[in-house]
């Protein structure tokens, strides 16, 4: 029974990962990251249910809190970059190198 949930979680994670790798728009990349996090959450909850203890669900809450915090900071950064550079492409923000 839990297999379906796990497969779904894997699919969501894969879609998210592909999105991060392929898309250039920072907002989209960001949403894909969220998708991956939620895929993980699904896996945690599934295992929690399967094993029968609450730890997985607790971790899922932690992930959600971290994700919320990340959204706050991340969106702020993206907006700032967009304001200064008139672009939301992640490839354009490549000054931090070598």
């Amino acid at each position: 029974m839990t297999t379906h949930y796990l497969v779904l979680s894997g699919l969501l994670f894969a879609i998210g990962a592909m999105g991060v790798l392929i898309r250039r728009n920072a907002i989209v990349v960001f949403m894909c990251v969220e998708l991956m996090l939620n895929a993980c959450n699904l896996a945690f909850v599934t295992f929690s249910r399967q094993v029968g203890n609450l730890e997985g669900q607790i971790i899922a809450f932690f992930v959600m809190v971290v994700a919320a915090a990340e959204v706050v900071v991340g969106l702020a950064i993206i907006v700032t970059i967009f304001r200064t550079r008139r672009s939301a492409s992640v490839d354009d923000a490549n000054l931090l190198k070598y």
Binding site: V20, L21, R24, V29, V90, D91, N94, L96, K97, Y98
Partner: protein
Amino acid sequence: MESQVAEIVQHTGGAIGNAWLMIAFPLVGAFILLVFNRFTNRWGHLLGVAMSLASFVVAVLAFFELIGFGEEERRRAVHLYEFIPGMVDMGLLIDPLSICFALLITGVGSLIHIYSIGYMAHDEHRRRFFSYLNLFVAAMLLLVLADNYVGLFIGWEGVGLASYLLIGFWQFKPSAATAAKKAFVVNRVGDLGLLVGMFVIWTTFGTLTFQGLAEKITPGTQNGTMLAIGLLLLLGACGKSAQLPLQSWLLDAMEGPTPVSALIHAATMVTAGVYLVVRSGAFFFPEGSGAALAVAIVGAVTLLAGAIIGCAKDDIKKGLAGSTMSQIGYMMLGAGLGPAGYAFAIGHLITHGFFKADMFLGAGSVMHGMNDEVDMRKYGALRKAMPITYVTFMIGYLAIIGFPLLSGYFTKDGIIETAVHHQPILGWLAVIGAGVTGFYMSRMIFMTFFGEKRWADDAHPHESPLVMTVPLMILSLGAIGLGGWLVLGGTLYKFLIPAVGGNINEVPHFDFFSTPGLVTLALVAVGVVFAWMRYGRVAVPSVQPRGNFLTTFARRDLYGDALNESLFMRPGQWLTRLAVFFDNRGIDGVVNGLAAGIGGSSGRLRRIQTGFARSYALSILIGAALLTGALLFVGNI
């Protein structure tokens, strides 16, 4: 039966017990003059003389105290202090041998101090000159008075330092500075021998004191180790005494002021090698040993080489320097003949100290009157201008060529006869050397005091002041009478027996009419006549003629410098350059190359950081996948 060396007894008190004062006086003098510097300028020379005289007084007192003891008790050791714990203590050994040297050093030394007052009167650094002279006297006394090889070595290098400072006294002249350095470096080559010799002595016998060695060595012992020690000490002696093959520094050393040449490079320091051989004679140079033979050969070869060099020099001081080499060759020859030769070697050393110092100071007096001109071709007919110098120089001259009944006659003939008796070939070489001596010394006399005036236009030769001529007179008195007094009846031989060995029943009898003696006299006469024909009868050209091959050979110091230059100096310079290059490019090159390599590769490696967030994400994904795969793989094993 031979070698009656007396045992060394410990001594305290009296003049002997306070013999360290001999060293301390001049040392304090040197210290005061150097430290208080300009403040002592006005009276510094007087202090220097006073300290040297004080030292002489102590030496005389010690001498009389010493002869107050019976012959078997005339080796007195004075303990001073613990030097290197467990190895050697500093102490003095007052015995007939060392007291002879002490008297010579302080006596002739004081005379030369006095002479220098006049000679250096116009030099603005006279005070410094006297401080160095004092330093020299102190070091030389330590050399001869020390009761162990380490103390001897300290004095040995101390006189080397004083010699370095005094040769380079006029250091603003590049030639003087170079000569000073050369003297020190060549001496150090000899010191290497002495140093390694000490290693072997310490390792073999566990002691470095003369007393300790006397207890451990059976007289007359010969084996490989003893031979090695003997040859190593001989190397040291060759360096200090300018014997072949380490002779090349002495001629250059004449760059120093003339009193220095007289004191250090004629009368005292250069005879230190003879002292070393005689002092170690009972241990490492027993009669008939290979080491002793080596000493005699070195002496015989050097006495000829020095004489040949002396024949060709126009510089009066260099001529005398060649003669010094030659005379020390005689001493070395004597020192290689066992106790019978020791007495004559030391005797010749003492008389040579007088007559050679006399002549050097005389040469200085001539130079003083001739605006420091040293070229004998610019002299001529000086006997009228400076009569006292002329007479004293003549006495020294007659003494050195072995004119009958003067000092040199007794001591040099003694060496020759003993040599002919023990080592006939070397002995006859010494006879030939005496003939050559007659030639080159007469040449010097004729060129300097006889013949026509060849002076420079601004030369106004005049007799030197009394402060310079009185020491000359005293020295020439020694050159007249000392030899006979020491040799006739074997006075010196008997006196030295407790220190160097010998047999009281076999005192060598001085034979006035022996064959070698007569041949020597005849050859000397030939030499004198030959010199008269070349330089007395005909006018001497005031410019050096070209000369044949042999003359050039002698003028170039038998190509000794050329040999050193091509064998050691040039290869050494190449080696140095090679080593510096290797160090900068080789070793440091590897180090810097390593650093550059690391720097370069990290420069490549950082290019991976492209700045594209998505490529980072990809590498994270791949990494995570690999990690997961690895975990699965490991989990399945």
